[in-house]
Amino acid sequence: MDFDLMLNSFPKLLDATLVTLKLLSLSLIIGLFLGFCFAILRLSKNIFISRFAYGYSYLFRGTPLLVQIFIIYFGLGQIELLRTSILWVVLKEPYWCAIIAFSLNTGAYTSEIIRSALQTIKPGFIEAGKSLGLSNKIIFFKIQIPIAIRQSLPAYGNEIILMLKGTSLASTVTLMDLTGVAKYIISTTFKPVEVFIVAGSIYLFLTFLIHNLIKFLEKKYSY
């Protein structure tokens, strides 16, 4: 064990953690928005809209994240038409390709979490609202949504943790996130065990924080 190397690589890895957190938080925000939209589309009575939402979640939950990020980064880059279009400004950058892949992926899982939470709300809650003379809109935003959020907290906490680990794939498209920098240090020191132990511990610590934050929220909003 080379403890000096572990100590020396720690600050560099900590810097890279910021990149990881940036990737994670931005894709979670976009993914949450996508998740909400697609969960509501999924519950639509129009069969085409509902099928479309189902297709999205099926596609992105049914393929590995690595494949998705490769198709978006290397695959789209092969299309001449895209490279000459305005879209290339975004797709040229590995950072945005990673954000797009992560957001679409977590959006698919989040839409399933929110959909099932919406569907498991007891009809009694909605009926109670109706008997008070509340409009459908108010019932949806003031009763269904808050309950659904509370219901989906444990599952969503899980999704955040899965996504945190998913961001390590950003290193496959040249981004210098926590895993990317760890690999870089290994490539000059040839000592994978020491560096990965430090990087792994940082991931573990982040998971610990996320886990406790969700637990705190669950307690706070229990009913």
Binding site: F74, G77, T174, I186, S187
Partner: protein, 283 residues
Amino acid sequence: MNTLKKFSLGILISIFISFSVSADKIKIGTEGAYPPWNAKDASGNLIGFEVELANELCKIMGHECTIVEQDWDGMIPALLMRKFDAIMAGMSITDERLKTINFSQGYADEVASLAVMKGSNLESIETSEGINLSKKSGSAKKDLKTITAALKGKTVCVQTATIHQNFLESGDVGKVNVRTYKTQDEVNLDLAAGRCDVALAAAVAFTDYADKSGKPVVLVGPTFSGGAFGNGVGVGIRKSGDGAIGKRDAQLLKDFNKAINEARKQGIISKLAIKHFGFDASM
């Protein structure tokens, strides 16, 4: 119960024997993603200059060899962890690597070059044909200055953990925006896609890609050798430690050196180099 004990003991002994028997088999690690040095055919078999050379060297040494695949960025760690006994993966002999592992004598020379897509404004940089960084003559210094100016603000793509990355980070060409990839294939893809303004690798890696893909990749600037680019490509072998295993590693290094001499004398290396590179890169 007794028979069961004997049975298990028998299995353990046979495992032990099969291990010690296989000790004379040599495993050689290669990347399989750096054509024409080493690559894979459509059905996943390892092919290329080094794969054929490895088989020839093993024949000369009289060892039974298996060639295994290993990702480039884990090559040296995998050697140290005894996943295989030798590296033949277009790996240049550099001072940096010699701190961690041993190398046989060089068997082939690799020259590096910058590459751009046709039509790039870097196509017009004017330098001498080749520079040797170990000597750094006046004209080499002038060329480095020209390149430094040309690369300013450009995204330069290289494969990770290579001599090419080391060179770009050495400061010889100022501070450049380096982007690193896991494989050379990915560097080629992004060069063609326009995400990289310029790439640096073995000159043959680009010409091979241009030939096979039909993409207008062109070499620019001088060819690089010496200094951060090392002294040719050799067989990487563990530094010999203590005990029987250490002795075996030391012996292996001697065997490889002898076999390379023999292969050179018989013209095998030249023949294979011409077949795969189109010119005699043997040394």
